[in-house]
């Protein structure tokens, strides 16, 4: 009797200890937004990997770098963190990110199907300036020229627009459509947030970066500044643009009060609610070039990669979690409700195509994305200056663009430590 009881107890204890051992692996993930979290909250992952517990939090992309620094100092850093691609090099130099090239090779061998579905920018968007890989960029945003077809037709403007002079003409024409009321030609931002709309246009217009520093004191830079000044001078944009943040800029277009804007695809989800794409009222194209531009057109994107931190000590669990997030099923969920994915398998998914009727039209533009060049360590400082320049271009239409280009190039160079 006693032996039997002891045997039972031993079995129970060994069961308990194996259960405890099975739960020993813990993975901590920080997402940049709620919308990036898989709908099943890792339930399937847990079913497939019962020995790995996943804890996740949302730390805003805007704050995540600072939070990661604090968390690393306090020994509380996550294993995987979603950041903005521009911060990779700086965080890597600060010893907060773990080189993951070898482990991504394991990813490739272990999960070839998922690996092969990912576009090159999935890896480029998770690499530092010196080409070292720190994770995977599953979601990449790009800015496209977005406009109201119906309004441009009414204004007698031929489409596609393709060049900046045509965009300016279209914006002016829309803003002066008879009976158009307070219709805006171009919905423009002039305040408060980083120049993530304007830099892609600079690149598309043939703008150059040298070691991550934009060369705005150049013919391209001057035309780029002139573009925004002209929109304001022509009264194509709202006179209040200087105080408009991204919300106001977007709402004017989504609310049907603007003819043109440059915007990311994730906002199309909102436009679809008020103006279904299938009705043909609006469309998009790549960002415009300069008239007669000889430099190649560049359609740039900025990624929100999942990178691995130096706190991660279970590479196998990290690889499994990254693969899980990269799977078409989960990448699709995010792509439908939020940011486009780099998993190419999603672009043919019927559910995705039904949810995003523009998906097939945008796919050729998205296929050629290159990461937006950034300075390895001084990106925040450079962006601060470019934000000031953007705001100034919208608010000050009298100072010649060449003077602004020179003035702000000096400031950008200083910000870059040159």
């Amino acid at each position: 009797m006693l032996t039997a009881a002891l045997a039972l107890e031993t079995t129970a204890l060994s069961g308990l200890s194996s259960q405890l051992a099975a739960q020993e692996r813990t993975l901590k993930v920080w997402f940049g937004r709620d919308q990036f979290i898989p709908e099943d909250q890792f339930a399937q992952f847990k079913a497939e990997n019962p020995d790995i517990a996943v804890e996740f939090e949302v730390i805003r992309l805007e704050d995540v770098s600072a939070q990661l620094v604090l968390a690393t100092r306090s020994g509380n850093a996550p294993d995987i963190v979603q950041i903005q691609a521009r911060d990779i090099t700086q965080l890597a130099l600060g010893g907060m990110l773990k080189e993951f090239d070898a482990q991504i090779e394991t990813f490739k061998e272990q999960f070839p199907d998922t690996y092969n579905q990912l576009s090159p920018i999935a890896w480029e968007g998770a690499s530092s300036a010196d080409g070292k890989l720190y994770g995977v960029a599953l979601f990449v945003q790009s800015i496209y020229l977005t406009y109201r077809k119906d309004l441009l037709e009414a204004a007698g403007i031929a489409m596609p627009l393709e060049t900046t002079d045509k965009v300016l003409a279209a914006a002016k024409a829309v803003s002066t459509i008879p009976g158009g009321g307070d219709m805006l030609g171009f919905s423009l931002i002039g305040c408060c947030v980083a120049p993530t709309w304007e830099l892609p246009l600079f690149l598309a217009m043939g703008g150059q970066f040298i070691d991550g520093v934009p060369q705005i004191d150049s013919d391209v830079g001057i035309e780029w500044i002139e573009f925004y000044q002209t929109l304001m001078r022509d009264k194509s944009a709202s006179p209040d643009s200087a105080s408009w943040d991204s919300g106001q800029m977007r709402a004017a277009f989504v609310g049907g009060r603007a003819g043109v804007m440059h915007e990311g695809e994730h906002i199309y989800v909102e436009i679809e609610k008020t103006m279904p794409y299938a009705e043909g009222k609006w469309t998009f194209e790549r960002l415009p070039t300069r008239p007669g531009q000889t430099e190649p057109h560049v359609q740039s994107g900025f990624a929100f990669p999942f990178v691995v931190t130096t706190a991660a000590d279970d590479d196998d669990a990290v690889v499994r979690a990254l693969e899980y997030l990269a799977r078409p099923d989960f990448a699709k969920q995010v792509a439908i409700r939020y940011q486009p994915t780099t998993n190419s398998a999603v672009s043919n998914d019927p559910e995705y195509l039904a949810a995003k009727p523009w998906a097939q039209d945008i796919a050729p533009l998205a296929a050629s994305l290159v990461p937006l060049p950034t300075h390895p360590t001084r990106v925040i400082q450079i962006y601060d200056v470019l934000t000031q320049l953007r705001d100034r271009s919208v608010a000050d239409t009298t100072t010649p663009a060449a003077d602004l280009a020179k003035e702000y190039q000096d400031l950008v160079n200083k910000a870059a430590g040159l």
């Binding site: 604090l70 100092r73 004017a252 609310g255």
Partner: protein, 287 residues
Amino acid sequence: MRVQESGPMALLFQRLGPKVLIWFTLTFLVIWTATPIIWAILSSFKDPLEIYESKSLLPEVWRLDAYRKVLSMPGFSTWLMNSVIVTVVATIVPLILAILAAYGFARYAFKFRHVLLLLYLIPRIIPRVSLIVPLNDLMSDLGLINTYSVLFITYIASAVPLATWILVGFFGSIPKEIEESATLDGANMWNRLRHVMLPMAWPGVVTAAVLCLREAWNEFSFVLALVNQTDMRTLPYQLYMLKDSMGIQDYAVYNAFTILTVLPLLLVYLLLERKVVDSIVSGAVKS
């Protein structure tokens, strides 16, 4: 030529002029301060796009969607509870400490009293942002990151100087003779503090409590820096999380969240305001 001063208009102006001026000033101030609040309240009933596009202050259709969204957020009750717990502790504890400290500063003439009182202000003089990294290091060494303790310690430390300075003034204004009479009647220090000083300084205690309460309820930079777990967040932290520069900011939800965050504090304010007035009135009657 003398201007006729005894006409009915002049008389009316003489009687009502100052009042009209006061009423005009007060009305202007009320409009000035209440407009943003009214805008926020009305916006919380609007459709998100309507907030940007409509020029009307009133909603086209009164919607409760934003409130539903906020109240159905999975962590709302947790964040509310966290705010309540932290605020209660960070109001009561600093108040007790401040009463004792202020009594000492006001009634005992010890060496370096004034210098010490000035040094008391240091935690409030140093910008919070510059405290974040050293505090984070210290608290992580103590293993307190992501705990209530870290919020209690930092909130209390920042509230005590404020409350002490307020109470020193109130205690100092109470005539020493009253306390001396109590001493003659046999009251020891605790009894004097409890039965003489505190009732007389009650408006000050309530004022200090309200300010501590407001500080703790609205505190943001410490909780942002010292907590990174969703279930440890407070309402101001979560309000900040609703800010979205990558999409169209849903100001309806943002404002609904703000109003629900402010509401408990507002109720406490209204409750305590009466107490303050009662205390002042009763003090006046006694004297």
